[in-house]
């Protein structure tokens, strides 16, 4: 226990620091390093602190993007430490306080981040019991923590009880994190696995919650950006006198092609940005939207990534019957309801920046590079924003705010306008997949081959728009996300080869949007698998089961068949104008984790081409469930959002710029169009928890396409499934 050094003053200072920064932020820039708590992910005190009242502070590098993960992480720590949830507070995403647990993406917050917290709490629990044993002169094995109090296990009455606050009040949990510290048995759980109400909801429904967009500093000014008329256009001139009539203008900030205006009030900043007379050069470097897929196919391939190679690819050429098809998936925007927002303060060469970034530690590096200062001179702090579903514009807004704060010397808040968000957030890139399959004379699938056309790169630094326009380095690279995942298939087929052609460029700057790559690849794979079933006269479910050598996957599909009544589903009546059909899709996420299967019922109007998605049955197995209601909420959201993407969404552009700049030109699903969603959760308390954030999105487009096929015989291979495409596909049958 000698490792638990007394650091009361530091702990108090840390507590004060937190209060300072969450409630009454210090506009004076980043904190001196001497005050910093450790942010090491290898130390318990990187993640946890217990104050003198027994309150537990959790320092989480993973942040709540509106998914409810704050509540789930609270449950994990409360459970493992045996303290009530009400005693636990999660501090999220702060480069000065929270370990770098990686960007909050990829459905990893619980699977990775939560498990780090669980092990930190388990390490702490063991140390706390050992310390209590010494103080109480009892064997640690006879002690337990109950509700934040150390008690004797067997003789609860009449024995001394030692609250954690009294036990370690004024000390820091300065211990190495032991990955092998014994974990609580899931059978003893009282908090994990329960549908605990979300901690943030009461404040969110009464207007008391502080979103990033509500965050204020004393003396804060308001900035707005003025973006070029074309993505690559350059600034020719602007006339400051054109906004002379607007009161409270502080400065027009001009750095190369970066243009922003700072004003005393938000409305003045908005008006100034709208009314500033600016001339941009003509730039028409985007491809012809009508020939997007030719453009993608014609883009230079810089590398081939073979994501699976089983058996002999030549088997396809020898097959008796062959099928081939091409699937494409449109460019999508994140479409956050609240446009991106950031507040920055740049004082004495040090930047403090608040924004709803998925990854404050990475953002710090980008902002430091942009401003040519040291990483230690930048502090980035997460404040909850509107849902982002990936890398939206929050990092870019941070760069805008930083550039304007540096220019005016005071704190500046930048919120993007709707057109900034729709126009300049990085986009889910256009995705094209060619598929081929070979059958033997008995109709057995003997070969599968696919070729994906996707921009090069992984999920790393996405160029900051403001830095790019200002001609400053922000470490940016082509960064579409983990787009190769789920190109390989979960089915046992003798000869399989799946290849990703990595493209040198893509028309609009890419980044990850919910289930990047997995969504597009699963659409292609699961719809094409359905095509094989149709070709061979096999039932889509039975053909999947036949090729699945995975008991957990088989169990999931059997349960899906039961809950959706798949095997007794009625035959579609194609004599009617409106035909009902059902489709099925399945994914084993990245082939190594969460299983999802779904059956959807659709109504297709053969005359108008309109699809009404009536009901989704979803069966979901992500191992141990932390909060079943939170998980259901997330799955419902994935289904509804991805129905929207599959049916409606497509970023449009001319040769200069994105043209879908509002909700009229980029419509999303509305209330009268939402499907019912019926969810069956498979809970496996004794297994590790896998991600639930996005896997259930991946099966949606294929399930709908397959259902439309069952209804009409028309195969939809191009997202979005607009009425025009549906009518054309029906006409072609």
């Amino acid at each position: 226990m000698n490792e638990m050094i007394n650091r009361r003053s530091l702990l108090q200072a840390t507590g004060a620091l937190i209060v300072t920064f969450s409630l009454m932020p210090d506009a004076g820039g980043a904190q001196p390093a001497s005050l910093a708590k450790t942010v090491s992910p290898d130390r318990v005190d990187g993640f946890l602190a217990i104050d003198i009242d027994g309150a537990v502070l959790v320092y989480s590098g993973k942040v709540d993007l509106g998914t409810g993960v704050r509540t789930a992480l609270t449950q994990i720590v409360a459970e493992e430490l045996d303290v009530p949830m009400s005693q636990v507070t999660v501090i999220q995403g702060d480069t000065a306080l929270t370990p770098d647990q990686g960007t909050t993406f990829g459905s990893l917050s619980i699977q990775n981040g939560g498990m780090q917290l669980r092990r930190a709490a388990a390490t702490a629990r063991r140390a706390l019991l050992a310390k209590a044993a010494a103080e109480l002169r009892r064997d640690a094995s006879l002690l337990a923590i109950r509700n934040g109090v150390v008690v004797s296990k067997n003789e609860l009455d009449g024995r001394p009880k030692l609250p954690l606050g009294a036990l370690v009040g004024g000390t820091s949990l300065a211990l190495p994190l032991d990955n092998d510290a014994p974990l609580k048995a899931p059978a003893d759980y009282t908090i994990v696995g329960k549908p605990m109400p979300r901690l943030d909801i009461p404040d969110k429904v009464t207007g008391r919650f502080t979103y990033m967009q509500d965050f204020k500093l004393p003396g804060m000014l308001h900035g707005r950006v003025i973006r070029p008329s074309g993505i690559g256009a350059t600034l020719v001139s602007y006339d400051e006198t054109s906004i002379n009539h607007i009161p409270g203008i502080v400065k027009v900030v001009h750095i190369n092609n970066f243009l922003g205006v700072v004003a005393e009030t938000e409305w003045s900043a908005i008006k100034a940005a709208q009314q500033l007379s600016v001339t941009w050069s003509k730039w028409e470097g985007l491809p012809d939207e009508a020939k997007l897929w030719q453009h993608v196919r014609g883009t230079k391939v810089v590398r081939d990534d073979v994501t699976s190679n089983i058996g002999d690819a030549a088997a396809l050429r020898a097959a008796t019957r062959k099928l081939s098809a091409t699937y494409d998936f449109a460019i999508h925007t994140h479409g956050s309801i609240g446009p991106s927002c950031a507040v920055a303060s740049f004082v004495g060469g040090k930047l403090t920046c608040w924004t709803a970034s998925q990854g404050v530690h990475d953002l710090r590096k980008q902002l430091a590079a942009m401003l040519a200062v040291e990483n230690d001179d930048v502090r980035c702090i997460y404040v909850d924003g509107a849902g982002c579903y990936g890398r939206n514009g929050h990092e870019d807004a941070a760069a805008d705010a930083a550039l304007m704060a540096r220019a005016v010397g005071g704190p500046v808040r930048v919120q993007w306008m709707r057109a900034d968000e729709h126009g300049w957030d990085p986009k889910g890139p256009p995705t094209l997949v060619d598929l081929r399959a070979g059958l033997d004379q008995d109709g057995n699938v003997i070969a599968w081959e696919s070729e994906l056309f996707i921009p090069d790169g992984i999920a790393t630094f996405v160029d900051l728009v403001g830095a790019d326009l200002a001609g400053l380095n922000s470490l940016g690279k082509l960064s579409p996300g983990g787009v190769l995942n789920d190109l390989a298939i979960p089915y046992g087929i003798e000869n399989v080869k799946t290849t990703a052609h990595r493209l040198e460029s893509t028309p609009l700057k890419p980044a990850w949007i919910r289930s990047p790559g997995r969504l597009q690849n699963t659409f292609a794979n699961e719809a094409f698998f359905d095509e094989i079933a149709a070709q061979t006269g096999a039932d889509p479910l039975e053909l999947r089961l036949k090729h699945l050598d995975d008991p957990r996957g088989q169990e999931l599909l059997e349960r899906l068949a039961d809950v959706s009544n798949w095997r007794d589903r009625p035959k579609p009546d194609r004599s009617a104008d409106v035909v009902i059909g059902r489709g099925l899709a399945y994914v084993k996420y990245e082939l190594v984790r969460t299983y999802v299967g779904a059956v959807v019922e659709v109504q297709v109007n053969r005359k108008t081409g309109e699809i009404a998605v009536v009901r989704f049955h979803v069966v979901h197995d992500c191992g141990q469930i932390i909060n079943p209601d939170g998980l259901r909420n997330q799955i419902e959201g994935n289904i509804v959002q991805t129905v929207s993407r599959a049916l409606k969404e497509e970023v449009t552009f001319d040769r200069s710029m994105v043209t879908s700049l509002d909700w009229a030109s980029y419509p999303i699903l509305t209330f009268p169009e939402i499907p019912d969603v019926v969810i069956e959760l498979i809970d496996r308390p004794d297994q590790v928890p896998w991600g639930g954030g996005e896997p259930s999105a991946a099966i949606v487009p294929a399930a709908i396409s397959n259902a439309v096929f069952e209804a009409t015989g028309a195969r939809l291979r191009s997202v979005p499934f607009t009425p025009a495409k549906v009518k054309a596909a029906i006409g072609a049958t």
Partner: protein, 153 residues
């Protein structure tokens, strides 16, 4: 700099705005510190900024301050508090009808206006009423359940 008097959440307040065209949204958020209404689009397309004026749900992002006059403005904060939530806020809590929650102000304000007009709406009516309120997280099913719960249907 003109001073205006507004009736907001039952109280008469004085606000200053140099431009009578200033949308009510910015006055509520920045002068009165009322964060329930939110900026979503500034175009009246998404509903995140919805407030009540004389009981009607209106988009505060496209409502000029000068048009409010003596209209009685109610924001999300004026409906109820954490301690004493309005029945519809309580229903949203019970149904856990929030993901990121950025749109939820509009969902609650729009639904509250509906329930005043039509205390027992059908599910179809609820969906039609909310057709111009956008949610990106896909919380629609829970929102509809919450409104039904509040209406006791």
């Amino acid at each position: 700099m003109a001073a205006s008097r507004l009736n907001v959440n039952g109280a008469t307040v004085s606000v200053t705005a140099d431009d009578p065209d200033t949308p009510l949204l910015y006055v509520l958020r920045n002068e009165l510190g009322l964060h329930g209404p939110r900026f979503g689009c500034g175009l009246g397309q998404c509903g995140a900024c919805t407030v009540h004026i004389d009981g009607n749900a209106v988009r505060s992002c496209i409502t000029p301050l000068s048009s409010v006059n003596d209209g009685k403005v109610v924001t999300l904060e004026g409906l109820g508090t954490d301690e004493r939530p309005h029945p519809i806020q309580q229903a949203f809590i019970e149904e856990q009808a929030v993901q990121c929650g950025y749109c939820i102000n509009g969902m609650i304000m729009q639904s509250a206006a509906l329930l005043t007009r039509a205390p027992k709406p059908t599910e179809q009516q609820i969906k039609a009423e909310l057709a111009n309120n956008l949610c990106r997280c896909g919380t629609h099913l829970r929102i509809v359940r919450a409104v039904k719960r509040a209406a006791g249907i």
